[in-house]
Symmetry: C2
Subunit: 112 residues, 2 copies
């Protein structure tokens, strides 16, 4: 199995786990760009937003709905950002769908 | 009605529309930070990821699944980024849920 996130899910690679349920795993990014920076991933291997099927939509909704709960549990009551990079041209480096949830002091400032 | 995105939905404020269906509207950001930069919004007023309910999860899934279709239609075949800012501390400026979909030359580089 070549997917490092699948290996984290199965436990053969370590991670600093924040949350886990049957469908999702949340762990700290190893290269954080904010005071708080975690990744939410589906345990099932889904490559990217570019490869999702209609049958993945409900999972995507649950994944995004998990973000504010995770952010609040990590002390980001005043707010947080959720970023999904898709494809090489979109900065995706690990081809297992993941949402970056980050915030707090030291955040990268992204113009909005 | 004080929400500028609700006013865009109802047509009393203009926008450069990219896509529309019964549930969502997609239009160009007026302050783009990438060659391509659009916003996907639900037509129904939802404030933020911080205020979503379980009954909003399906809508969120459909919103995220729309992103790759919109990106491809705008020429971002090699990839794109999807960003949702939530709360004042998360850089949210308009309190009507919106996903930034952006990419192409001139993209802000966000470390990943």
């Amino acid at each position: 199995m070549d997917c490092i996130f699948c290996r984290i899910v199965e436990g053969s690679l370590p991670s600093r786990k924040v949350y886990e349920d049957e469908e999702f795993l949340v762990f700290h990014d190893i290269h954080p760009f904010a005071a708080v920076h975690v990744l939410i991933i589906p345990k099932r291997h889904v490559e990217s937003l570019q490869s999702i099927k209609e049958s993945d939509e409900a999972m995507l909704g649950r994944l995004m709905a998990l973000a504010p709960r995770i952010a609040a549990s990590l002390g980001l009551e005043s707010g947080f950002r959720t970023l999904i990079n898709s494809g090489v041209g979109g900065g995706q480096e690990v081809f297992h769908l993941h949402a970056h949830v980050f915030g707090g002091e030291g955040s990268v400032r992204i113009p909005t």
